[in-house]
């Protein structure tokens, strides 16, 4: 049984048909990436799975359980977390409070300290700013915070929407290394990225999206060398 199985998902924005019968799956322990141009529907897929936008038809099963009728906030305690695009942090709270909010649904508060140490080891910059209001962080720092906050929830499936956006080159490498690390520690990952090259080089499998349709799927390593993918998404 796949950890996440999406079948014939359709999403409409008013009259616009944004996702057409999208079907894909994520197996336990995988890193799966969705690539495609801006506006292809990648973020819509993540939002649909998180139940942040309504879907019309289709099924979404998480660990075999249908979740199309579940409220968004309940998914987090089921082990499904999303790092939203565009740094949706709690700007009037401190960095530390943001991280604590990430652990909101967890019962084992005892591990809070060790978890904080874990995210600070990944993002030493956040440790420097722990008492600062999150809204006063720079754009890239807010991006790190959004990722760190999601990690605090110990998700079994982590969905990440453009985690490398606005990060310096050195941190882009760092963030992909972190993704690989948390995957090794047992977290399954669904990744949306503009940086298709990096995404494909750490993913197991990938799906290519064009205007709301999945047009290609396969082993990430194979897609990385596919001529069509190279021309359209890698710019090489």
């Amino acid at each position: 049984m796949p950890m996440l199985e999406v079948n014939n998902l359709n999403v409409f924005y008013g009259a616009i048909h944004a996702l057409h019968d999208v079907s894909f799956r994520v197996e336990q322990g995988e890193i799966v990436t969705l690539i495609g141009a801006n506006g292809a529907g990648k973020t819509s897929i993540l939002h649909a799975i998180s139940r942040l936008i309504p879907t019309r038809g289709g099924t979404i099963a998480f660990n075999g359980q249908e979740i199309t009728g579940t409220d968004a906030f309940k998914l987090v305690s089921k082990g499904l977390s999303q790092v939203p695009e565009g740094r949706r942090i709690f700007s009037q709270m401190t960095v530390l409070e943001n991280l604590e909010m990430g652990a909101y649904t967890r019962r084992d508060k005892g591990e809070l300290d060790s978890d904080l140490q874990m995210v600070f080891s990944h993002f030493p910059r956040l440790k420097e700013r722990v008492k600062q209001m999150a809204g006063t962080l720079s754009g890239g720092e807010q991006q790190m915070l959004a990722t760190a906050r999601a990690l605090m929830a110990h998700p079994t499936l982590l969905m990440m929407d453009e985690p490398s956006m606005g990060l310096s080159p050195i941190l882009v490498e760092e963030i992909f290394a972190i993704i690989r690390d948390i995957n090794k520690e047992g977290t399954t990952i669904l990744l949306v990225e503009q940086n298709a090259h990096m995404a494909l080089s750490i993913a197991n499998r990938a799906y290519v999206l064009e205007t709301g349709n999945i047009v290609m799927e396969g082993e990430a390593a194979l897609l990385l060398n596919d001529d069509k993918v190279k021309a359209a998404y890698l710019g090489t």
Binding site: G140, G166, G235
Partner: protein, 616 residues
Amino acid sequence: MNRKFKSYVLNLTAILLVYLVVSALIDAGSINKYYASILIMIGINVIMTVSLNLTTGFLGELALGHAGFMSVGAFTAGIITKSLSANLGWDPAACLPISLLAGGILAAVMGFLIGVPALRLKGDYLAIITLGFGEIIRVIIQNLQITGGASGISRVPRINNFSTTYIIMVLVIVVMFTLGRSRHGRAILSIRENAVAAESTGISVTRYKIFAFTFAAFFAGIAGGLYAHQIGRVSAASFDFNKSIEYLVMVVLGGMGSITGSIIAAGVLTLLPELLREFSDYRMLVYSIALILMMLFRPKGLMGTAEFSLTFVWDSLTGWFTRTLKIQKRDHSPMLPDVPRYDVGPDAPVLETRQLGIRFGGLQAAENVNLHLNDNEIVGLIGPNGAGKTTVFNMLTGVYLPTDGDILLMGKSIVGKKTFEIVSDGIARTFQNIRLFKSMTVLENIKVAFHTRMHYSPASGILRLPKYAREEQGIDIRARELLRVFNMEESADIRADGLPYGQQRKLEICRALATNPKVLLLDEPAAGMNPIETRELMETISLIRDRFSVAVLLIEHDMKLVMGICERIYVLNYGRVIAEGDPAAIRNNPEVVKAYLGHSDNGTQAVKEGEANANA
């Protein structure tokens, strides 16, 4: 038939027709006195609602004391008519224009006095302050001799009639429409959409907020005057907080930002309680339930921000019979680019910072930053996250006031100037997270940025004087021209938030260019773009430099872009410049590699690809 002309004819005919029919019915007695007075109350409430919509719907500021302005107008007008007719023996009807105007003006003065302190602040201060004002004015009026204390004033000559109310109502509506479609109306709308972006396209946000608020208060004062002459008795208690809320409900129900919506809502909500009279005790209950249901099923109000258009109805009706062929006239005369307005020596920098620094509390966010930008140069500003890059942009654009150093634009210091003034001086910018006027069209977004290059006054906008027509026409052509340069002409009439992501970034750049800058600041223009889009963006930036002769300073983490198009690069770390030089020097600088680039081949690779792109 010309569409504009057709709309004039249709609307004018409708306005006249309604007037003639209703007044004939009143004269003939088919509409009795009771219903006539309801119609007049509708007219007064339409004025109140439409004017409140200017503040709340178009400007986007919540105001909770609109009835306060109405009471100022009512008492002023009532007292003036009474004393003029009693003491000087004037004909009350002749007093009406004077007292209405005086009521409006006094209300406007009040509006201005409240608006100046309240609207300077960001946030919901206006709501609180207008709430207080509404109560204070009520208490003052109840305790003043001249306003008759708690009982108010009575025996105001009841000289208001349907014609007067109707004419004034139509005038107010027309003014709202014409104002809304002038550069001033666009400026007000753009503030609602995104105040930060409005300020950065050269619009004085505070000034326009005060303008709109004062204007709305003026009309509320006029409506108050009509009310006083309609009822004949005025007491402060009838203009309490509930009254203000009633008008707010009408605005919300009609749709924030829709004038026709306000008209319909004012009509329905004035009529409804009267029609429900037979339910006596239950009528307020029915009224409230009707309201709740409306808001549940149409949360954006009856009309949202759309307007009811007679021309549209007419076209749809006639469209059944005739098929209309639309031929759009297009002017292909090349008007761009503007001639650069400056002459600096070839070696003198366009923009220069000297020992620039800023401290937030204990945090030194930038220190001793010396940058310079030459004419027509593309310069990169890179550095780790949190190094202070955007902070530097915010100082250059007057968002932050530097604590040290100086900023020179063509040799003149701009430190201490407001953001919108710096835009007219010649620095334009884009934002890390795109800030467009989302619900306005692509074309309107550009037109907002042309604001400072038009000069007609609100009066010529409202009266549609030749200057208005000339300038608006010129701007329309130039805005389309600008869009054409960026291959976005096709999208001119769609909403900005309907554009794909890459195009939104492009529109933001386009809007910045419309302010005719000498320096363009781009904050992470390639963020969220895929490699293909990024390559297009590189072409766009080079095109900008060549066609508009601006100097570009850009913050970016995409090394292909930075290494590919920048002639020089500054590297910032912990608020200080740690390196400066051409791309090759930067990528080999060990300190930069350590703090920023990581793998040195990260930069090398990018430089190679960048050069390859530049050569291609």
